[in-house]
Amino acid sequence: MTQVLVLVELADGALDSSTSELLAAAAQLGSPAAVIVVEPGAAAGLAAELGALGAGTVFVASREGAGSQLVTPQVAALKAAVAASGDVSAVIVSNSTDGREAGARLAIRIDAAYQSDAVGIASVNGGVVVTQQAFGGSYAVTAGTGRGIPVISLRPHSIEGAAPAAAGTVHEIDISGDTTATTEITARHEQAQASERPTLQTADIVVSGGRGLGSKEKFELVEQLADSLGAAVGASRAAVDAGYCDHNMQVGQTGVTVSPNLYIALGISGAIQHRAGMQSAKTIIAINKDADSPIFEVADFGVVGDLFTVVPQLIDAVNARRG
């Protein structure tokens, strides 16, 4: 069976949470093989974990300072793995900031097609067909490959299931000859994903706040409701611009696209650019004091009212039901 390569990202030396899903996606198309760039000596434990998650082969590129160069070591490793494998039908990367850029560069380097931000993936008559969304989920697009193999960036949380465990056999690859111009990562300011709150892209429930929250202090109400529901916290661009919360919480056209089971919008007017990031949520609840807000056009359940009275009551009711 042909191999389907998966670029494995590391977070603080451990496998990124996207890894299992990427290998599961690969298993739908062929035999999953992982590609990983590590500090010398760090591969052994990771290879066993990758085998358990479904990787038959683990292509390992060892590189001193692997974590302090942006994207280019991963591109070199993917290219070396394609050559070492000899029979690759697709390459899958996460649609993360790093993953998609490694995938985009790889497509150019090996003359391949590039399919960005896929939400579905299937093998049809021997070819790979991906499903993508256009204009914030207003359209579903299916696309095949005209030339070359496809390099696919997969949106997190779009494929269910897991790949059956496999051997995880290590195959060393050499990227020491790579002469690509590099960019150095001189410092990291990142919070480990260990926080109890789920991440925006992968959460089943997202609670977002907008300018209606009025201040950074009052934005805590959004967090309180999110925590009572076990939800991730999102925001409108107006809330981000006003400094109520961090930019990477922005949902919308120029922020994150989410499609959770439940999206709750608090004090958000529902501008077209915000809806582009959340309108494909299964259920939408909106609380806004202005009955004419466009958010109500997409809401399954809407409350016209003051969020500062409605939300505390909602939190109490949720906590009461949870017991």
Binding site: R105, V129, T142, G148, T182, E184, D300, A317
Partner: protein, 264 residues
């Protein structure tokens, strides 16, 4: 310093954006504007220019005749010259092909710094910048929310900036020549003033057709694209939900709705 800034014309996000079912391509017949992120990229280029005397900013776009407006707007903001890549043979290009045409136009012109938006609002692939870095052999500093360029007077210099990531940010550094993509936090774009608008009309815009670009036959056009759209389906509009006015019990009613929908 020679700076190129890449701008794209996109359907206005304030309107209803469509995909044309017959061509399966973005319908550009409605209002089209320079992508907001590209106004910010132009602003970033102008700030680098102002900090490095003797710099020159070229604004580059690939797109139909209307895309000249995106160039003119950038020139009115303060860019010095434009390059407009326009050819019917480019219609229907995928992202691999788009990056090939843009790289062919940029290559060999001695740009020290290429600045793009991080992600276009119509394509949203966020792939063109990385692909250009790959094709042009440039160091890549992408998704920057801050940007500092220190030229060393000669052809060298250093670029630093903060890259936004899912869990926070990282600091990047590379040597020139380099490619930078910026996020919407990079800067507020300046408004062109009257003088800028008038002088933009006199600034040079070079027009490049496919025949002017060193591209292999078969590199361009929908028939040779790497990725092929098979089907486009519009999502059915959401059907009307229940809207209530808070009578003092709305919070409880929302909780009841959640429970009835098995969401809690």
């Amino acid at each position: 310093m020679k700076i190129a800034v890449l701008v794209k014309e996109v359907p206005d996000t304030w309107g209803d954006r469509r995909i044309d079912p017959s061509t399966k391509r973005v319908d550009r017949s409605g209002d089209v504007v320079i992508d907001e992120i590209n106004e910010k990229a132009v602003e970033a280029a102008l700030l680098v220019k102002e900090a490095n005397s003797g710099s020159d900013v070229t604004v580059v776009t690939m797109g139909p005749a209307s895309a000249l407006d995106a160039i003119r707007k950038s020139l009115a903001m303060g860019a010095d010259r434009g390059i407009h890549i326009i050819d019917n043979g480019l219609t229907g290009s995928d992202v691999v092909q788009t990056s090939a045409a843009l790289a062919a136009a940029l290559d060999g012109r001695g740009f020290d710094l290429v600045i793009t938006g991080n992600e276009s609002t119509d394509g949203r692939s966020a792939a063109v910048p990385a692909m250009l870095a790959e094709r042009l052999g440039l160091a890549q500093l992408t998704f920057l929310r801050t940007l500092t360029v220190s030229a060393d007077g000669g052809s060298g210099g250093t670029v630093t900036g903060e890259r936004v990531t899912t869990e926070g940010h990282v600091e990047l550094r590379a040597s020139l020549p380099a490619l930078v993509s910026v996020t919407e936090q990079i800067a507020e774009a300046r408004y062109p003033n009257f003088k800028g608008i008038m002088s933009a009309k006199k600034k040079p815009v070079e027009v490049l057709a496919l025949a002017d670009l060193p591209l292999a036959a078969g590199d361009t056009g929908a028939d040779n694209s790497w990725s092929v759209v098979a089907e486009v389906t519009a999502r059915p509009p959401r059907s009307g939900g229940t809207i209530i006015k808070d009578d003092g019990t709305a919070g409880t009613q929302v909780a009841e709705f959640l429970a009835a929908s098995k969401l809690i």
